[in-house]
């Protein structure tokens, strides 16, 4: 198994980072919608607890992923994207890092400002980032929600781009993110 990326292929570590992020971020949206609709009760606390726990995992994962990405070669672009398409793809990739780092931190600020502790799966409690502050709490909450909408748009853009590679250019972009991909002449 190839762990590191090469100029032609993603290594196993990058692939694991990608799909683990897909699973965690994919779980966060339904959990968020569910917890928002719950009446204030123990179940709502549990739901928020789960959302915060996964959020902190995404923060840690994204930090590690960013370090890994910066320390690895980037496989070259396949297909025939126009310059603006290549720019959009790149912007989406870097926005993912920015948002997946910013959202957990802003959520953490939101909790701290609301005087609600952040506990990760019952393992440990994170320190409060700020003291209780109702205005900051509102700002953090609105920003967190806004970023979740932006994230959905970027996910749509990212998936659309991947589909264009698969359907229009019929290249190996999607298969390259799956285990067992072998760069060969046919891919180039």
């Amino acid at each position: 198994m190839q762990f590191r990326n090469t100029i032609n292929a993603y290594g196993a570590v990058t692939q694991a980072f990608h799909w683990l992020t897909v699973c965690l971020v994919g779980a966060m949206f339904p959990i968020a919608w569910w917890m928002d609709d719950l009446p204030l009760g123990p179940e709502k606390f549990e739901a928020y607890g789960l959302h915060k726990s996964i959020g902190i995992c995404i923060l840690a994962l994204t930090l590690l992923r960013l370090a890994w990405t910066l320390a690895n070669p980037k496989p070259r672009v396949l297909g025939q994207p126009k310059p603006y398409e290549e720019f959009l793809a790149k912007a989406a990739h870097w926005s993912f890092y920015g948002i997946l780092l910013a959202m957990p931190v802003i959520g953490w600020i939101n909790s701290s400002a609301a005087n609600f502790p952040v506990n990760v799966f019952g393992w440990f409690t994170l320190p409060a980032l700020v003291g209780p502050d109702k205005e900051l709490k509102e700002l953090a909450q609105e920003t967190h929600e806004l970023l979740s909408d932006v994230l959905l748009v970027i996910i749509a853009l990212h998936v659309a781009g991947a589909l264009k590679h698969a359907v229009i250019w019929k290249d190996g972009t999607i298969r390259r993110m799956l285990p067992g991909y072998r760069p060969d002449g046919a891919e180039q």
Binding site: F45, A114, N115, P117, G122
Partner: protein
Amino acid sequence: MCLAFSGAAVAEPAAWTVDMKTSRLGFTATQLGSPFEGAFKTFSASIRFDEKDLPASRVQVEIDMGSVDSQSPERDGAVVGAERFNVAEHPKSMFETVTFENLGGGKFTAKSRLTMRGVTKEVEFPFHLETRSDGGKRVAHMEGEITIDRRDFDIGQGQWAAATTVGADVVIKAVIRAHAPL
């Protein structure tokens, strides 16, 4: 002559006035195992205390449960409901001392009765007290805390009964600054 007479005749310990601005009746509760702090904004205390006359000393504190402030209007609005504080039926909690014991070095313990949500329990309230003279009056700084099990007072019924979401133990911490005439 009058002064000398009244001085000798005063049997009751000094009446202390609480400085509400610098006193705090706080608590630490837990949520999913993590602590958060809050306070009761409104309370009144009747304090007759003389460390040289503990048998005659008495402290009564009345706490307005609806004044709970955990910096979250949503959480505060929920905690006063019927299943928890039930302020509609039990708006006040009461803390009353029964006997004091001087442990030395400014340390005391007060055998007391605590009534919350209509349930009265005996509790031991240990505290530390410093008094000094300042500008023609005596000033006191008292700090003490006790840990209670909210379930002893039936706080947390139905869905709130389990101690996993909201912990059973609650630490109540009082910091009281008060003054009395010399």
